[in-house]
């Protein structure tokens, strides 16, 4: 009852008198909740859409059979279909190609199906002919049926699609019901014929007979003669799980950034309420004398924080929903990470998630309000009314903080949990908390020394003694600076380290002058490629000195895991042509050298000098190397997060017979004009494929690729610069609020100093000097903590999340500038807060008792 009365009267008045201060805290909570909730909504919607598309595409299939590499022999189909474990089976040849729409290309997934079988397993893929289409359009050559997304983008009667390095025309004869990104369905035989894939299928969709499951069916199939060794048997739901894995680390990192925003929100709530408690210390003390108990005072301030949290969270959920809707509209379900291309999911709102994120916002505000609430409860009423109600500072124990720091260090050593660097994120949190809570203890430790050195200067003595006696309050006032600067320094170090490493990596992977790529999409690598004849023509172009060809394709080594990239290229000098982490291993006779990216070490246990057993039976079936595939080195790859293997092109061609080429690295002859060479190469491509355009073909110089890569890099990390600015702004807001609170609480003290003959400038000097000392200490602590957090980010979170390493690089000047700017801003903030301390009203504060 009393609480409700106080909230309605005193708290409401406080809110009305300082609307902007409270609004800042509300906005911070709102932004934290909005960011976290919108990331969740966008991702859940995109995943939901993808899962839905996968479900409709796989229909009633229980299992799908896929090869690890390349395609399956279509003769496998009768073996499977005739098995007693199978009720229905449908063979599919799956390709990704490019369709020409105007003067641009659009990625198009093309499925060759058996129209008589597909309806039993995946009804959504059954072709529905347009009215008036030929009766046997289902089986007609070069005839496709489009889903709604493809029809919307390409909906004409004919389509130009890419096969190899040529364009072919197909007729659109109808539609299919399957949703998701652009999809075309055609007869299996027609597709094999059109794309030169005779006898090949990509997968078999299977509905199991009653009483059978994956294991029993597999046992049955493996007893049949001609059953291939390495075949992947995946359950339909594993596809959704694989897609979820693709974006998990990216999603978690975005969510952590949102939680950082929420953390700053908690800090603002703390600052605002701390200031409120300092201002109302007299009121609180008087109410204490009148009978308001300590626990009632605690509940009162906590209720204020809960109010801020609840309103901020409600606004955050509304904003988060709007942001998610806008993000889905503008980005089409792609969070910017490129994991869900081509989808336009609708918003899937979840009340449960909204409650969870709303509760998170309220919890953050309650955490922020806890210390001011405790301070309000701990106020000694009589002492406070006499102007002496301050904390004398506890013993300043360092041990708990050191234990937190140690625990943080130990947590950073833990392995990831389901691909998420959970231990490392907790380590960062503990390092920050441990570092901030260690400040009072460090001050207690340094206090006697500072007193000995500075005790002879009265103004310095006042600052030193105050710092020593009320170290907790002073530490709290700079904790915002410590937290903000440590985050800013950590992000600066991490981004600089990453940028420097990417720069060095680009030096290594872009040795040629010009690069040609057959398609932007890796999925289209088997369908859109350069044929040897075209490569020979390009090699012979005037101005071209040397051409290196790359074949890039995919391998699936484990069901439920994303596919890895297999790159076949000339490897005469691996040390020069790959960004290897160590010296390459010697390869024994009979073995084939493979060079794996760092992700392969984590995901598939590849170790230098050891055989890569996962590849055996997958690559070069029937002609495997006697001594297997030897991991000859590990290389750094910032382009492929889920693993890549590089193999010499001669080995690859010998093992697979595949001579397709996807990328060309071109060295220009001395004195050749790059523009002229580019024009000549384009003209030769046009002449080869008989087309007027080279749409879909990518050609760029290494300088352009480098510039674009660094632009993309900087754009990707632009958000971190904003985050740093916001964090530091909030930290300084915290300093301003804390110093204002202290100045209010110390009005009598400053008034007394004026009576003792201190000038206004000297009083201002005390406040600004304390501000300088504390922000300098905070900045130093923040930079050191930031360095520790950066080590965890660079050496633990990045490798665990994205499976690549980088070198730690300290941008000393930028860090010094960052620290210096914070010190100057903090001192200025304290000086501004202190101006009222030296005003005539403050001088008269002593008069209050006269």
């Amino acid at each position: 009852m009393a609480l409700r009365y106080l909230l309605r009267t005193v708290s409401w008045q406080e809110l009305r008198h300082h609307p902007w201060r409270h609004a800042a805290a509300l906005v911070a909570v709102m932004l934290g909740v909005a960011l976290a909730f919108s990331v969740h909504l966008i991702n859940a919607s995109a995943l939901g859409e993808f899962s839905q598309a996968t479900r409709t595409a796989s229909g009633q299939a229980d299992l799908e059979l896929r090869p690890s590499f390349s395609t399956l022999d279509e003769n496998l189909y009768p073996l499977v279909a005739g098995s007693t474990a199978v009720e229905a089976a449908s063979p599919v040849l799956e390709m990704t190609t490019q369709a020409l729409v105007g003067d641009r290309t659009v990625a198009l997934r093309l499925l060759g199906i058996d129209a008589l079988r597909v309806g039993q397993v995946t009804p959504a893929l059954v072709p529905r002919a347009h009215e008036g289409a030929p009766r046997l359009a289902w089986f007609a050559p070069a005839t496709v049926f489009l889903n709604s997304s493809a029809a919307q983008q390409m909906g004409s009667a004919t389509l130009q699609v890419q096969a190899g390095d040529r364009r072919i025309e197909v007729q659109v004869a109808g539609t299919v019901a399957a949703g998701g990104p652009p999809l075309a369905v055609m007869d299996l035989g027609a597709a094999q014929d059109l794309f030169g894939r005779l006898g090949e299928i990509s997968r078999i969709d299977i509905r199991l007979a009653p009483g059978h499951d994956r294991e029993s069916a597999l046992r049955l199939w493996q007893t049949q003669a001609g059953w291939p060794d390495k075949i992947l048997v995946a359950q339909a739901q594993e596809t959704a799980s694989r897609i979820s894995q693709l974006s998990r680390a990216y999603r978690v990192n975005l969510t952590v950034l949102a939680l950082v925003a929420l953390f700053t929100g908690a800090f603002l709530v703390f600052s605002v309420l701390w200031l409120g408690v300092a201002k109302r210390a007299g009121q609180l003390a008087l109410l204490g004398v009148l009978g308001l108990s300590a626990s009632q005072r605690l509940r009162w301030v906590l209720c204020e924080s809960l109010f801020l949290g609840a309103v901020g969270s409600a606004a955050g959920l509304a904003l988060g929903t709007a942001l998610a809707a806008l993000g889905l509209e503008l980005l089409g379900g792609d969070l910017g990470g490129g994991y869900f291309p081509g989808t336009q999911p609708s918003l899937q709102w979840s009340t449960l998630a909204a409650l969870a994120y709303g509760a998170l916002g309220v919890l953050a505000a309650a955490v922020g309000g806890w210390w001011p609430a405790r301070a309000a409860a701990a106020l000694p009423p009589a002492q406070t009314l006499k102007g002496l109600g301050l904390s004398t500072g506890g013993p300043g124990r360092l041990l708990p903080s050191l234990l937190l720091l140690l625990a943080g260090g130990l947590l950073a050593l833990l392995p990831p949990v389901h691909g998420v660097a959970l231990g490392a994120y907790l380590a960062v949190a503990l390092l920050l908390i441990g570092g901030i809570t260690a400040l009072p203890g460090l001050v207690a430790w340094a206090h006697p020394l500072a007193r000995r050195i500075l005790g002879h200067w009265p103004l310095a003595l006042l600052a030193v003694e105050r710092a020593g006696r009320v170290r907790e309050t002073a530490a709290i006032s700079v904790s915002g600076v410590v937290a903000a600067l440590s985050l800013a320094a950590a992000l600066t170090i991490m981004v600089s380290s990453f940028r420097m490493s990417v720069n060095q990596w680009l030096d290594s992977v872009l040795p040629a002058d010009l690069y040609l790529r057959s398609s932007q999409s890796l999925a289209a690598a088997d369908t859109v490629y350069f044929e040897p004849a075209l490569v020979a023509q390009l090699r012979a172009a005037p101005g071209v000195d040397r051409v290196e060809a790359l074949r890039v394709t995919t391998l699936t080594l484990q069901t439920g895991r994303p596919a890895i990239s297999l790159i076949a290229r000339e490897l005469k000098e691996p040390r020069r042509s790959l960004p290897l982490l160590d010296e390459p291993q010697t390869v024994p006779p009979g073995a084939v050298a493979v060079y794996v990216s760092e992700a392969m070490v984590d995901l598939y246990g590849a170790r230098p000098g050891q055989r890569l057993k996962a590849l055996e039976g997958v690559l070069g079936r029937g002609s495997e190397p006697a001594a297997g595939f030897l991991v000859a080195g590990i290389w750094r790859d910032y382009a492929r997060q889920f693993g890549a293997i590089v193999i010499d092109e001669a080995d690859y061609q010998r093992l697979t017979g595949d001579r397709r080429v996807n990328d060309l690295a071109i060295w220009l002859a001395a004195g050749a004009d790059e523009k002229k060479v580019q024009a000549e190469l384009r003209s030769r491509v046009r002449a080869h494929n008989g087309s007027q355009t080279v749409a879909g073909l990518e050609m760029a110089s290494s300088t352009q690729i480098r510039a674009i890569s660094m632009q993309v890099f900087d754009r990707s990390f632009a958000v971190t610069y904003w985050l740093q600015a916001v964090a530091i702004g909030i930290g300084l807001f915290g300093v301003a609020a804390s110093f204002s609170a202290q100045v209010l609480a110390r009005r009598k003290e400053f008034g007394l100093l004026a009576h003792l003959g201190l000038t206004r400038q000297q009083i201002l000097g005390i406040v600004a000097g304390e501000g300088l000392a504390w922000t300098a200490a905070g900045a130093l602590a923040g930079l050191l903590l930031g360095l520790a957090v950066a080590v965890v980010l660079v050496h633990v979170i990045n490798p665990q999340s994205f499976r690549w390493t980088m070198d730690l690089y300290l941008p000393v000047l930028r860090l010094a500038a960052l620290g210096g700017a914070v010190i100057v801003a903090g001192t200025l903030t304290a000086w501004l807060a202190g101006r009222s301390a030296a005003s005539r009203q403050a001088v008269m504060a002593v008069k209050e008792d006269w």
């Binding site: 009265p458 006042l462 003792l756 000038t759």
Partner: protein, 223 residues
């Protein structure tokens, strides 16, 4: 800062103070010489504390002149007034204001440190004079009201100020402690030659003054 030595340590001429349109007092005249003890009495709210603030250059006034140790406060800038206070004035308040982060010794030594006249023996002597020996390292929170006021007295006297401005210094004290405090102030006046201006409601304290003046809206008159 114009220095014009004269017989009066504090000289107030035709002083008038208003808060907006409401006059507080008018035509206040007062001269206090070295070693003199003047008590100012009057009803609550009549402006006694305001008058003390004006005498210390801590408050502004609307008409008249104030001179402190021969220096005109009228023409002095804020910083100059602060330096005059530091050098010539000792303050004692009713609410025994002390700096909460400094211990007893540091609180008492502060005026000397501000004047760059570090003198531990003088500090110790003052502490003994007010009966605080043995409590030098205590913080204000660890002292009683009487002890705090004695810290404030020692601090006010330690730099041998020319003027002591005391506002109800015994208002919150028991009779015995009040007696001790008054004795310390009077001793400073008699032995060290400081001028003492005491604002009080206590007839007993006022009875020990050389002159007792009553402040009203029309100025100071003998009580």
């Amino acid at each position: 800062m114009s220095a014009a030595p004269g017989p009066w340590v504090v000289q107030v001429q035709d002083l008038a103070k208003r808060y907006g349109a409401s006059p507080v007092f008018e035509s206040v005249n007062l001269q206090v010489g070295a070693g003199q003890f003047v008590a100012v009495v009057g009803d609550s709210g009549v402006g006694k504390s305001t008058l003390l603030n004006c005498m210390a250059g801590l408050d502004t006034w609307d008409a008249g002149q104030v001179q402190l140790c021969g220096h005109s406060l009228q023409t002095a800038r804020d910083d100059e007034r602060a330096l005059l206070r530091r050098q010539y004035v000792g303050f004692v308040f009713q609410a025994f204001h002390v700096l909460p982060h400094l211990d007893v010794r540091q609180n008492v030594a502060l005026p000397l440190m501000l004047l760059k006249r570090d003198d531990p023996r003088r500090v110790q002597a003052m502490l003994e004079a007010v009966g605080l020996q043995g409590l030098e390292s205590r913080l204000p929170q660890q002292l009683s009201g009487g002890q705090l006021q004695r810290v404030a007295i020692a601090r006010a006297l330690v730099h041998r100020p020319s003027v002591l401005l005391a506002d109800e210094p015994t208002g919150n004290l028991d009779p015995r402690t009040a007696g001790l405090v008054m004795q310390a102030l009077i001793d400073q006046t008699r032995c060290e030659g400081s001028a003492l201006v005491l604002v009080t409601h206590s007839e007993q304290a006022a009875s020990r003054a050389d002159r007792v003046l009553r402040l009203s809206a029309n100025g100071l008159e003998p009580a």
